[in-house]
């Protein structure tokens, strides 16, 4: 910070930083870069079918999520399994 800025007192957050944070949010959710006929919805549907073929769970207990970052993107499949007894019955 230059001495001139020092006398002007503490600066409010720079508008450029607000812009950066807003854009980071938009891009991180991944919805922006994908357009319309993206493969993700189809992949989710297929993954869901596969999971349900092997484990007898309520479809609402299967969560499929994706997160896109600058360096790393992840696909997470989270299945909340029922107690052991019920799984056996499903086979």
């Amino acid at each position: 910070m230059s001495w001139l800025n020092f006398f002007r007192g503490k600066a409010e957050p720079a508008s450029a930083d607000i812009a950066r944070d807003r854009l980071t949010m938009i891009v991180a959710t991944g919805g922006n870069r994908r357009n319309g006929d993206d493969f993700l919805p189809r992949m989710q549907k297929d993954l869901m079918e596969v999971v349900l073929r092997y484990v007898n769970v309520d479809p609402s207990k299967v969560k499929i999520s994706t997160e896109r970052g600058a360096d790393l993107s992840t696909l997470a499949i989270e299945v909340e399994l029922p107690p052991v007894k019920e799984v056996r019955r499903a086979g």
């Binding site: 001139l4 450029a16 854009l23 922006n32 360096d71």
Partner: protein, 272 residues
Amino acid sequence: MAQVVTVTSGKGGVGKTTSSAAFSTGLAQRGKKVVVIDFDVGLRNLDLIMGVERRVVFDIVNVIQGEARLNQALIRDKRVETLAILPASQTRDKDALNKEGVAKIIEELSKEFDYIICDSPAGIEKGALLALYFADSAIVVTNPEVSSVRDSDRILGVIQSKSKRAEDNREPVREHLLVTRYDPIRVAKGEMLKLEDVQAILAVPLLGVIPESEAVLKASNAGTPVILDAETSAAQAYADAVSRFLGEDKPMRFVEAEKKGIFGRLFGGRAA
């Protein structure tokens, strides 16, 4: 086989045509055989920026519809020998272009040229899709400003899903980020997005940074690609981008605010 390079952005008015003209002229100055195609059918501009508007007789639509041969429509540049321009039509509507027609033109141009530069229209509709469909590389022109960055992110997604390379499951289109109209003084004041931030958000290799420059408007007034005004910062920044595209290592220039002298610091601290 020629390399097809599409200059695109999503958002309009960010400097695609300016960059297409400068970049193709720069490549040709380096001895490459280059043709630059205006895909902005109905709103052609490239001919004006290149200063060849009075030499346009036939255009890309005439060629596609079989009304003229490709060689009759190509305009050979008088300043740089290995450069040619294929203008867009001013009168027809966008539907006059189609994949098959463009494919044929690109195939024929590939026989003579090393690089085919496609100046895309704005948007993500038909014209822009056609301009990027055959791309081997894409130069995504971005201004340091929220809507331009978001649209660049958007068009990057389109490139990776709608290009021929994506359809054929080939190696993806090589992406390059070109940040234009960058104003280091406004960045230093916190009014404009930093280069590092734009780059981190889009996560695409940086080809160059073109500073905001009065030389661009002047060059367009005169119909001279700005890269030919060699002493200007914009020209030098474009020349550096061309070098990087050809694989040379060049440090980024014109990205830091000039240090003010003692008088500037005493009296210019509050400068608008």
